[in-house]
Symmetry: C2
Subunit: 298 residues, 2 copies
């Protein structure tokens, strides 16, 4: 049996735990005012891969944190990711009709409800982060600062979204492209890995290794996503394929070509794996996640 | 000299401290990506009364908290209020062109930037709450839970906004109207008062008194706002007067008439003042704030 075959069930189990936790934490669909709660659940349960929670959970497990903390932490991170998708899909931004093969939130529930459902998911995420069980209050506020910095501005996810919007209107340099990727998707992925390590109260040495892993994985993920957008069909992607090109958005394949983009992504995954060397076989799940990111594009 | 004359300078000074703190905490207007930072500053510095920060600061001061905690706490609460206004003004929601006499955020910067500027203010607010100086981490997470509950769903601000949107389409009962007011504006005002008390690590007895004060003030504020909307001119309001009526939104004057609404608001302010009796003259600023709310409508 390969290491891959051994770790997959553990990852699938983590995904199942996160889904149960999300169901427990989100307001019931029949709770007043229903529309926003139905909209939140529509987007949360639209078939996401739960990559961010799994990164947090497996990083935390590696360094000794308990699932009692890691599973709600993962659920909060997935709420944040979903809020960003809901707002990103809005007509004023990417104007997408499909996400993960389902109607986007505003297509299913209207724009007003979608905006407020996104706001509600972000708000609930911070509430969950502020009530993580079995975590010292000290670690709690550290974690909230880490996450808020990663998803805000000037260095986090929102800054990346704004920079991406602005870059659509002009020719994009490589420096701008890397900045956008680092902020728009990289910062949250890095924060997920670091959040797991912080929940474990990991010493700085471990935190540094996991941070490096998170940064490499974050950029590899974005390049893979760009590649899928060029290579994939709409059916496989669950969103409109080739969508990034007509708007002449900044992508790796556009700047480097497909083969060179693949090579860069593979190199990043190798570097991510190397950062985990000290942990030996215990880091198999995190290695598996890194491999999975580029498997889809080869 | 009347008590009113004595406390006004203290309140004005608190307002000045909050403005300086907001300027310190918000990303600079020339920081990349500039559009979102300019949009955040546009809406934050559009001339708000800073009612929410002042409620938090004066409640905290009454119970012995230090300005070093209360001023950034107040700034975070104002960011949350401003984010809610930016999203509420969007075309998909209230579709307002003016706010506090200035173009609304989306009119000045476009819808995409306005949505993201609101998101960024909410995110920054939680970051600031997680790094309040001279506050134990324990009090920090308590405060974040309090605020997140007050502005989320099913009992907080977002629930109130959704309920308000839905109520526009049908005839509104008094029960629904009170529920909307309590959630849409009341919950955050109440949380501001409680946040000040929590920052002071106030005993439960004090917290209960201030909570009662906050609830009465919150409802009085909303009734006064409804009255101003009927009575005021666009110039005085800085937004379109009479705007709530054509959409047949739920308001107190619509259900009770102007005179009876005034009477209810005055009674609420009297009850708010009564809740502070135990504090004698030290509670003069909080009494002054309660009086101010209805002075505008008489």
């Amino acid at each position: 049996m390969t290491p891959t075959a051994r770790v997959r069930p553990a990852i699938d189990e983590a995904r199942g735990l996160v889904d149960l936790e999300l169901d427990r934490l989100l307001p019931a669909a029949d709770l007043y005012p229903q529309s926003v709660h139905r909209a939140m659940r529509h987007s949360i349960f639209a078939g996401g891969k739960r990559l961010r929670p799994i990164l947090a959970i497996e990083s935390g497990r590696l360094l000794g944190a308990q699932d009692a903390v890691l599973v709600p932490l993962g659920a909060a991170l997935e709420m944040i990711h979903t809020y960003s998708l809901i707002h990103d899909d809005l007509p004023a931004l990417d104007n997408d009709d499909l996400r993960r093969g389902q109607p986007t939130c505003h297509r299913a529930f209207g724009e007003a409800t979608a905006i407020l459902a996104g706001d509600a998911l972000l708000t609930l995420a911070f509430k969950v982060l502020a009530q993580l069980p079995a975590l010292s209050a000290d670690a709690g506020v550290t974690l909230i600062r880490e996450v808020a910095t990663a998803i805000g501005t000037p260095d986090g996810m929102i800054a990346g979204q704004v920079a991406d919007l602005e870059a659509s209107h002009e020719s994009t340099t490589l420096a701008t492209l890397e900045l956008i990727h680092r902020a728009k998707t990289g910062a949250l992925l890095r924060a997920c890995v670091r959040a797991g390590a912080l929940a474990a109260r990991a010493p700085l040495e471990d935190l540094d290794r996991l941070t490096l892993y998170g940064e490499k994985v974050g950029l590899a993920f974005q390049i893979a996503d760009d590649l899928l957008d060029v290579l994939g069909s709409t059916a496989e992607l669950g969103k409109k394929a080739g969508k990034d090109r007509p708007q002449s958005k900044a992508t790796y394949p556009a700047l480097y070509g497909i083969e060179e983009s693949r090579r860069i992504a593979r190199k990043l995954v190798d570097e991510a794996r190397a950062a985990l060397e000290a942990y030996g076989v215990r880091a198999a799940p995190l290695r598996e996640i890194a491999d999975f990111l580029i498997e889809r594009t080869s």
